[in-house]
Amino acid sequence: MIRLHNLRKSFGNNEVLKGINLEVDPSEVLVLIGPSGSGKSTLLRCINNLESPTGGEVTVDGEWVNRTDLKPRAFQKHINRVRTHMGMVFQHFNLFPHKTVLENILEAPTQVLHRNQEEITAEALELLDKVGLAEKKDSYPVQLSGGQQQRVAIARALAMRPSVMLFDEVTSALDPELVGEVLLVMESLAAEGMTMIVVTHEMGFAERVANRVVFMSEGQIVEEGVPKEIFSNPREERTKQFLADVLK
């Protein structure tokens, strides 16, 4: 479903991803952990080309994402289309503040996919119901709590019917008591078989939901395995150190 082959990314002289090889299967939930600055966000952003890789190949759904054979204009068209298959949820929600909850969800399906307004509205209301915010459809983002905003952001991404969801520390900006409601939504999404890459520091979530945990450090994958293995029996020294730091 997702395949990263020798993925490299540099910012100037700073090589942030040093040849990442990774495959994610359909319906797999992959949790990406690692210290701050290890390149987790950059990796996610290279998948949907919010950052363009400096080397290697990204393939999603059998489609080469970071095509280097296209002129800029053609590449823009290509990338806009490819991105409609990938949902992304950000640490700071990034809801559109000038649009209501419902308008936030309808924006891309109507403007990008040109889907029928009535049909997609019904679907959007269903999604809102699923994330427990049906009664907030006419609210503006500023009127919602962080946890509610993040659940809307998830619904907004899902409204594009993506085949993959990317989550970048989506609970890190939330007050502790609001973390649970967001994780719950992600958990039910995983149970429905969504393919997910999740960057998080919520080790409990990783243990419960992940099919596989990948530990990254300094732009490289250090260790990967099923959650039990990684958490209770890490092989690499750096993994042990990291887990000791976050779990203490």
């Binding site: 950000f90 000038h98 891309a108 403007q111």
Partner: protein, 218 residues
């Protein structure tokens, strides 16, 4: 003492002048907004063929006096076979002038929209143009209404300069009436009152627009 008889008698003439001033203001304002938006987008573009001409336009306008720009258009262009009426010379000069200031204002507003907004839009498959039109500009608008309003008020006041190229707007109407009445204080006072009404009206109108962009903020 004020000569009230003169005031009541000549006020309608000055209102006529004020209507010309209003016309020239509104047309320049609209064209100046279009020019300002276009220049702002060009300056933000990575294409050097758009970026540098727009930068030059803003620089040249902001570093020269409006009066000289007006004279170049009205007195200078006929040398090249481009003769515009006083009205359209005035509109052109004012629109180009306010457009340059609007460009800086609009550019600043666009840059002030958090970059997460662009990223969220692009991650949903929205194109650059769609993102700008539907997500960035509406949010920038909210930030730039106050400084744009400032530009509008300056524009209205600057229209008095077109009196120098024989367009009989508010200021020139007052001047001409002084020639026959010898009442400069009354005439200029009425002109000042009418300018104040126009600029205050513009500010109030903009506050209404601003109120529509609160999006749930109280």
């Amino acid at each position: 003492m004020l000569d009230w008889q003169i005031i009541t008698h000549y006020f309608p003439f000055l209102v006529k002048g004020a209507i010309i001033t209003l016309e020239i203001s509104v047309i320049s304002l609209v064209l100046g907004l279009v020019a300002g938006l276009a220049a702002a987008l060009c300056i933000l573009s990575t294409n050097p063929l758009l970026h540098w001409p727009a930068r030059f336009y803003v620089w040249i306008i902001r570093s020269t006096p409006l009066l000289v720009q007006l004279f170049i258009i009205y007195f200078g262009l006929p040398q090249f076979g481009i003769g515009l009426s006083p009205f359209w010379s005035g509109v052109l000069a004012l629109a180009l002038n306010t457009g340059a200031y609007n460009a800086e204002t609009i550019r600043g507003g666009i840059l002030a929209v958090p970059k997460g907004q662009r990223e969220a839009s692009r991650s949903l498959g929205m194109s650059k143009a769609l993102t700008m039109r539907r997500i960035i500009l509406p949010q920038a608008l909210r930030l730039i209404i106050p400084p744009l309003g400032n530009n509008f008020v300056i524009l209205i006041k600057d229209t008095s300069l077109v009196s120098t190229i024989t367009l009989v707007e508010l200021t020139l109407t007052a001047q001409r009436l002084i020639g026959s009445t010898y009442k400069p204080f009354e005439m200029y006072l009425m002109a000042a009152v009418l300018y104040a009404i126009l600029t205050t009206g513009a500010s109030l109108l903009l506050r209404q627009v601003e109120r529509r962009t609160t999006w749930g903020h109280v």
